[in-house]
């Protein structure tokens, strides 16, 4: 029964995707905003490391606060911009068809695309941030000290940048290693700038 329901929903997603072309936008939002969230948290962690913050609870509070803010920014920003863009497209289509499109599959597909884009835009930075903060959550469980938590988070951040780059490369059918290293370089550059600025 669940399998049948999933199959039906999957079919619906494909149908709506054919109408709106949303999977391309979702992929773009996923990479862009995961990178956004990961980089924000990376910056917070680097700043805390330079300031020698030793309290994991403090880092978690600041990190989660920033993650929620970035998530909300993505959610509301995408919802408003996508809705505006989709409404414009829908109006143009109504003009071409000489009819209103309320309560049609076409309208439902566009609403679904706006909502899903907002959801991906909101959740992806939140998840990326939480993944980077996970060593601080798991300090007791993993029995590691604060320095190890910092370095594990930095490692996770650089891995996340590279993985997002690889995903981009897969999407664009370019060299996955090259795009992976490009995003990794962006992260490393950010780290260098933070160290230079905060160092003084």
């Amino acid at each position: 029964m669940i399998a049948a329901l999933l199959k039906k929903e999957f079919k619906r997603f494909h149908y709506y995707d054919a109408i709106t072309g949303m999977s391309k936008i979702l992929r773009r939002y996923f990479v862009m905003n995961s990178f956004d969230g990961a980089l924000t948290t990376f910056g917070i962690l680097l700043g805390s490391f330079i300031a020698q913050v030793q309290d994991p609870v403090l880092i978690i509070h600041i990190g989660v606060g920033a993650a929620i803010a970035v998530g909300f920014s993505g959610l509301t920003g995408a919802l408003l911009t996508e809705r505006a863009e989709r409404t414009r497209e829908l109006q143009a289509m109504e003009k071409a068809l000489h009819r209103k499109l309320e309560h049609t599959d076409y309208k439902k597909a566009y609403d679904f695309a706006s909502f899903t884009a907002a959801l991906v835009d909101g959740i992806s930075p939140l998840v990326a941030s939480l993944v980077l903060l996970s060593p601080f959550f798991l300090m007791d469980f993993l029995a590691i000290d604060i320095s190890s938590a910092y370095f594990s988070s930095f490692g996770l951040a650089l891995t996340a940048f590279f993985a997002l780059g690889v995903f981009l490369g897969k999407v664009s059918k370019e060299s996955m290693l090259a795009t992976g290293f490009k995003l990794l370089l962006a992260g490393v550059l950010c780290m260098v700038v933070i160290f230079i600025v905060e160092g003084f």
Partner: protein, 88 residues
């Protein structure tokens, strides 16, 4: 049998609406036994299609409801056939 046996409709379809799905949905409409969608013209936003539906007792309202729900726009009914024998 005195119901509608064949309908030929002139319909505007949004360019990215999958016609395969539309055909499948029309085939499920009451009284419809066969569907044919012929794309006649492709414009920037819409396609003009000649949709033919056949059956022993085609429910025009059901066909129209499927088109409406999908987001297609019925422009005109170009041909309708009834009776024991399809003429032409």
């Amino acid at each position: 049998m005195s119901g509608i046996r064949r309908l030929v409709l002139d319909v505007l379809i949004p360019i990215n609406l999958p016609t395969t799905q539309l055909a499948a949905n029309l085939a499920k409409a009451y009284g419809v036994e066969g569907v044919d969608i012929l794309i006649q013209e492709v414009e920037r936003k819409v396609e003009t299609a000649k949709i033919t539906v056949e059956g022993d007792n085609v429910d025009f309202d059901a066909v129209k409801a499927v088109l409406d729900e999908a987001g297609a726009s019925l422009q005109s009914m170009d041909r309708v056939s009834c009776g024991k024998r399809i003429v032409g």
